[in-house]
């Protein structure tokens, strides 16, 4: 412990030196912008900036790139809350309750809660990263394909809590999302599936164009389709800050989101996206007022936004402790280290103490910078809502197209986004929810790969899922959850979902 403190002292002496401080600030600023722009996420931001870091030394480069990563998680909530457009894929869940809060005139409160939640999650998870990195990294390695599959199946159960309307409809949407996730090269055999000769479809339908289309473009179409433009919500200054009540409602979700996000973040895959989905489901499950979800529940903003921030620190655990990437973003950061002749690996912490501890300390500093940067911006961003829709929406559409194009430089992605926008609009008219589609698109390729890898490992025997302890535990948890729901169903006890549906029809629940 004492050693950790003295190491941290070394770290802060590095992190607070003016050049490192400056690069951390630049990273956070760019990250916030990248997060705010619809479509452009942290991966695109880091990729674009990577060449610019080649001239810096390793510590500066890595501090700046990390700043972009967690900075984007702060910025991502902004457009989700204000306009129902996910600034990056991990903010999809924030679109639902964040936007609902904004429609009620609580945009400022939602933004402030997202920023503070992100700050708490960011800082707390750096503590976790600092103290637990080596043991946690070893644990993460034990997650092979079968463990992954078990975890992802658990992720699918999240669905049950994602919709506030018809269960059948949200299951249909999830199935549709899973089917969309099948497009692309089959990882196990090399077949091009559903690509129809379009080489770009080999990589499948990206989460970003699908999410921005289903949420953002669909929202714009829906608004434009109304006979009269919706009234512009003019925020008042004293309404910018969350009320005492809203703070109280957000504390527990922030705490849960932090722990959950950090743990999910350590595991390989698109952790920051999945963590926000899981957090939303958990909040809805434990909430005493699940019926508020979808209509502006504070917990629906606080939980996922904290989770996606904590997940970014979690993702650094395998990267720093073992030198293996837990996803595409840490992979780019590893490359940045290699360019500077720092070989990432299990010996990094001993061989490069200044880099490791400087990096850790810079994340503490960076989170403070982001909070200071974001809270005053709340006032500014909220004023975007004052812009009349005929001017605001075309501008957003332009930014969305630019953003989605910028990610891969692919026109195909832009078409996917526009088609998804039309589809999302039709589905809204028919009263389908679109978040399960995004969940399906995120999970399908991961589920398929881990399942088929598992079966390749066992030469086709399904027993592999029942002979590995971690997988068994996860599957058992899933089974218990399903049984609990089944019990409610069979006992003919109406849960909140049915009560809500009846209340909407004007009937009393029995």
């Amino acid at each position: 412990m004492l050693e950790t403190l003295s190491n941290l002292g070394l770290g802060f002496s590095v992190a607070l030196s003016p050049p490192i401080l400056m690069y951390a600030f630049v990273g956070c600023l760019v990250g916030t912008l990248v997060g705010v722009l619809p479509g452009v996420g942290p991966l695109a931001g880091i990729s674009l900036l990577l060449p610019a870091t080649f001239g810096l030394d390793a510590t500066r480069a890595i501090v700046m790139l990390a700043g972009i990563y967690y900075g984007a998680m702060y910025g991502g909530s902004t457009t989700s809350i204000l306009m129902r457009i996910p600034g990056e894929a991990a903010s999809v869940m924030t679109c639902i309750d964040g936007y609902a809060m904004a429609r009620k005139g609580r945009a400022g409160a939602a933004l402030a809660i997202a920023a503070v939640g992100s700050y708490i999650a960011g800082t707390a998870s750096v503590v976790g990263l600092m103290l637990l990195a080596p043991p946690l990294a070893d644990f993460a390695l034990r997650f092979g394909p079968p463990e992954h599959l078990a975890l992802l199946l658990l992720g699918l159960l999240v669905l049950a809590y994602m919709s506030s309307g018809s269960m059948l409809k949200s299951l249909a949407m999830a199935a549709f999302g899973l089917l969309l996730g099948m497009v692309g090269i089959d990882q196990m055999s090399g077949y091009f599936r559903f690509a129809y000769g379009v080489v770009e479809l080999g990589d499948g339908l990206g989460v970003v164009p699908v999410a921005v289309g289903l949420f953002g473009v669909a929202e714009i179409l829906a608004t434009a389709g109304q006979p009269t433009a919706p009234k512009v919500i003019k925020p008042r200054l004293r309404e910018l800050l969350p009320s005492r009540q809203e703070w109280r409602e957000s504390i527990a979700p922030i705490g849960r989101g932090t722990v959950l996000g950090f743990l999910v973040g350590i595991l390989p895959g698109s952790a920051h996206i999945i963590s926000s989905f899981v957090s939303y489901a958990v909040e809805k499950r434990v909430s005493r007022h699940p019926e508020q979800f979808g209509h502006g529940a504070v917990a629906g903003v606080a939980g996922p936004e904290s989770a996606n921030n904590a997940a970014t620190s979690g993702a650094m655990v395998p990267m720093l402790a073992l030198g293996v990437p837990s996803g595409p973003i840490p992979a780019v950061m590893l490359a940045a280290m290699m360019v500077h002749g720092v070989s990432p690996g299990p010996l990094l912490i001993q061989q490069q103490p200044a880099l490791f501890w400087g990096f850790i300390a810079s994340m503490y500093v960076g989170n403070v910078v982001l909070l200071v940067l974001n809270l005053p911006l709340v006032g500014l961003f909220v004023n975007i809502l004052r812009v009349p829709y005929p001017y605001l929406y075309p501008a957003i559409l332009v930014f969305s197209i630019l953003g989605v194009y910028a990610v891969n430089g692919s026109v195909v992605d832009v078409w996917i986004m526009l088609l998804m926008g039309v589809l999302g609009w039709v589905l809204r008219k028919l009263d389908f929810e679109t978040a399960p589609i995004v969940l399906g698109v995120v999970l399908a390729p991961l589920i398929e790969l881990s399942m088929r890898q598992s079966l390749a490992m066992s030469d086709g025997s399904y027993m592999i899922f029942l002979t590995r302890p971690i997988a068994v535990v996860l599957l058992a948890v899933g089974a218990v959850l399903v049984l609990m729901n089944l019990y409610t169903f069979l006992g003919r006890r109406l849960d909140w979902r049915a009560r809500l549906a009846m209340a909407e029809k004007g009937e009393e629940a029995p």
Binding site: L33, S47, R142, G190, V199, D203, V324, L334, S343, M457
Partner: protein
């Protein structure tokens, strides 16, 4: 944000300029685009950047790297294959340039591009893969590994960067040469493939040396043999498969510079000359040194021979793998 803007601007400029065709001016008179068909941070990108910087210095003309990614490199390669052959759009390709068209053939697909759509300029680097196993595994030498694999066909597993990917092909060439059968567990990229062996979910992995060296040093992995024609400098005690009597198990993760077929000979000559000067630049050497990637420079006939031999081995490897489903 300044850099971002600059990068974006450079991309826009670089992409739009080839449209303004200039017939008579001396080459090069406008910015050259070097396409890296893989995302930033990958081998192709990390090689392309110092190459571009050094060529820029030699040619006294801007050379910008553009990452055109997708479908395991096929998107970027197809883009260059169909670009105007004027020397302003070049490709930095990896070994997979010979694999992708063969894989397309296996599936009776219209190939995204063919190898003869490119004019080779120069080979920049060639890094032999090495065979690693976990430190606690029973095999101390490549010989023990191969003998055990012969006794238990299809039981020893390995991970790779993906089906028909470079790391998969290296292992296939070995299986072919040694007459063994291993179990393939493809992963989604070289990073996850490394994670799989570190976590003990597979037994073996063929990998570029730089990536696994830290894990060999820390005692988690053991190197058994290399696919190169000589031993890896950082691992002098590790033999090559050639030494062990498997000359067909030769494989490199190489990076080479290509232009679209039909590029005028004077332009190609100029590019060859520029590349030769570029790889001799001290900055370029320093950059490749940090990546622990050996510079192997070949041009003209020499590169053509290397390329042909490599393509022949890989094509045979891909055909041997065939369609995965058809085997069961």
């Amino acid at each position: 944000m300044r850099h971002r803007g600059l990068v974006a601007l450079a991309v826009v400029v670089a992409l739009s300029l080839p449209l303004v065709a200039a017939a008579q001016e001396p080459y090069p008179s406008r910015p050259i685009t070097l396409v890296a068909p893989f995302p930033p941070g990958g081998v192709a990108d990390l090689t392309a950047r110092p190459v571009a910087a050094a060529m820029e210095k030699v040619l006294k003309n801007p050379v910008g790297v553009v990452n055109k990614t997708g479908a395991a490199g096929a998107v970027g390669m197809q883009f260059v294959a169909t670009s105007k052959p004027d020397g302003y759009t070049l490709l930095l390709a990896l070994s997979s340039i010979s694999i992708i068209p063969e894989a397309d053939k296996i599936f009776d697909r219209q190939p995204a591009f063919t190898v003869d759509q490119f004019a080779p300029i120069a080979l920049i680097s060639a890094d032999p893969t090495i065979l690693v196993v976990r430190a606690e595994s029973p095999w101390k030498t490549a010989k023990e590994f191969i003998e055990d694999a012969k006794k238990r066909p299809g039981q020893i597993s390995y991970s790779s960067s993906g089906i028909y990917g470079t790391l998969h092909m290296a292992m296939e060439l070995l299986s072919h040469a040694a007459g063994i059968k291993l179990r393939h567990i493809p992963a989604a990229g070289a990073g996850p493939a490394l994670t799989a062996i570190l976590g003990g979910h597979v037994d073996a992995l063929a990998s570029g040396p730089a990536v696994v060296l830290p894990h060999i040093k820390s005692g988690k992995l053991r190197a058994l043999a290399g696919w190169g024609d000589k031993r890896v400098a950082a691992l002098p005690e590790v033999p090559t498969f050639r030494e062990l009597g498997y000359p067909e198990a030769e494989f490199y993760i190489w990076a080479g510079l290509f232009a679209p077929k039909g590029t005028p000979e004077p332009v190609l000559a100029k590019l060859r000359e520029a590349t030769r000067a570029a790889v001799a630049e001290p900055e370029f050497k320093a950059a490749m040194d940090k990546l622990e990637t050996p510079i192997v420079f070949k041009q003209g006939q020499e590169f053509q021979q290397f390329f042909d031999a490599d393509a022949r081995r890989l094509a045979a490897g891909v055909r041997k793998v065939g369609r995965v489903e058809d085997k069961k």
